[in-house]
Amino acid sequence: MKRKQFKLGIPALLVASAFAAGCATHTPQLASVQAAHEAYNAAAADPRVRTHADVELGRARASLAIAEEELRDSGDSAATNHLAYLARQRAILATEVAAQREADERIRMAGLERDRSLLQARTAEADRANQQAQIATMQADSARRQAISAQTDAEIQRQRAAQLEADLIAMQAVKSERGLILTLQDDVLFDTGSAALKSGAMRTIDRLAELLRNNPERRVQIEGFTDSQGSDSYNLDLSERRAASVRTALLARGVPMDRVSIQPYGEAFPIASNDTPSGRQLNRRVEIVFSDPQGVVVGRTGMSGSMGSQPQSIIIVPAR
């Protein structure tokens, strides 16, 4: 396109200069023709006119040629002025038409650009909404999973507590206000005056260790008791050694040390009369007190309680 215009331009220029030379030598120059030339040259130099108003520019060029022909051939200045005026107006017209078409073209492009921007904006907005919806969904999912998980945890804990209770009750444990308490008679565990566990006690100890393994949140307190025979200090010492003996056996079976505490009471808290042999036999005992699921063991108060004494305070064992 550009090359073609260039090709056309050279001969046109030659013709124009030939006219100009002819005018200069043989005919008087007219201001109206001069003005038409200037208007035409200005239009032809405007690249917008070449692009958008080539036909209009051609008409102006033809008009200018006619005006110059009239000037050369007739010398009639009125006719020449008229024709030159037409040529000048047509040159300006080409410029205006080009300006309008260029503006229209840019309006079309700007409209497309605007549509693209709007589309991008809507896409971005939709993306954001989508993202937020996804985040909301993920949060809801997570909350739901946590709720289910909490529910499941609570359910598992409840089931395990029920299982432990059933197991301990099967071992003749008692459910008291202090929690589950398993009472073991000394004559089952120890020889008279000794703190060494008998081989017959091992099954019970094995079972206890297994229960603690299955319920890792539980602690136990091993409380030792004697009858009232012998000195208080001897009885206290014996009850401590026997409780410690049970603890050692549990530790040997893999129960962590911090989950087993001992508490010797000597001849305190008898559960039967010390006046009869059978009563004394009942008083010689080890009580295994199970904590609640939070690891808290409810303790006794005072060293000189009597039969049927009630717990009056809570000892909180440090959690794990």
Binding site: Q89, L93, E96, Q100, S117, Q120
Partner: protein, 130 residues
């Protein structure tokens, strides 16, 4: 005979010249051009060229058309034709000026609103994204 022939020759040349002269003076009335110019001026008026940037060209067209009409009525067809042609191109130019002014105004408005839109989008993107 010689004289006669010469006289006839002179008469013939004179007659031809006379016919040519009267033919020039009494050319056909430029009816079509008048109609075309009236149409062009009317179209310019309807495109809003009577006011604003194109009003000078429109006024010129209007004035020349009126003068053309007067010349036409006075049977000065040469002048009527010229004035009518000039009125036509003036009207065309007036209309082109009015149209291009409208297009440029529309373009400016569109560009301004597109700029505002783009800024709005930019703000929306930069504020609401976490």
């Amino acid at each position: 005979m010689d004289i006669n022939i010469r006289a006839m020759k002179v008469a013939l040349v004179g007659a031809i010249a006379g016919v040519a002269f009267t033919g020039c003076a009494s050319m056909d009335p430029p009816t079509e051009q008048m109609a075309a110019s009236r149409t062009a001026v009317e179209q310019a008026r309807m495109s809003g060229a009577g006011e604003g940037i194109a009003s000078a060209d429109y006024t010129s067209a209007r004035t020349k058309l009126d003068r053309a009409e007067a010349a036409f009525r006075g049977e000065d067809y040469v002048l009527a034709g010229r004035l009518a042609r000039e009125a036509e191109v003036d009207a065309q130019l007036a209309q082109a000026r009015a149209s291009s002014a409208k297009s440029r105004l529309a373009l400016a408005e569109l560009e301004a609103s597109t700029r505002a839109l783009r800024e709005e989008i930019y703000r929306a993107n930069s504020t609401s994204v976490r």
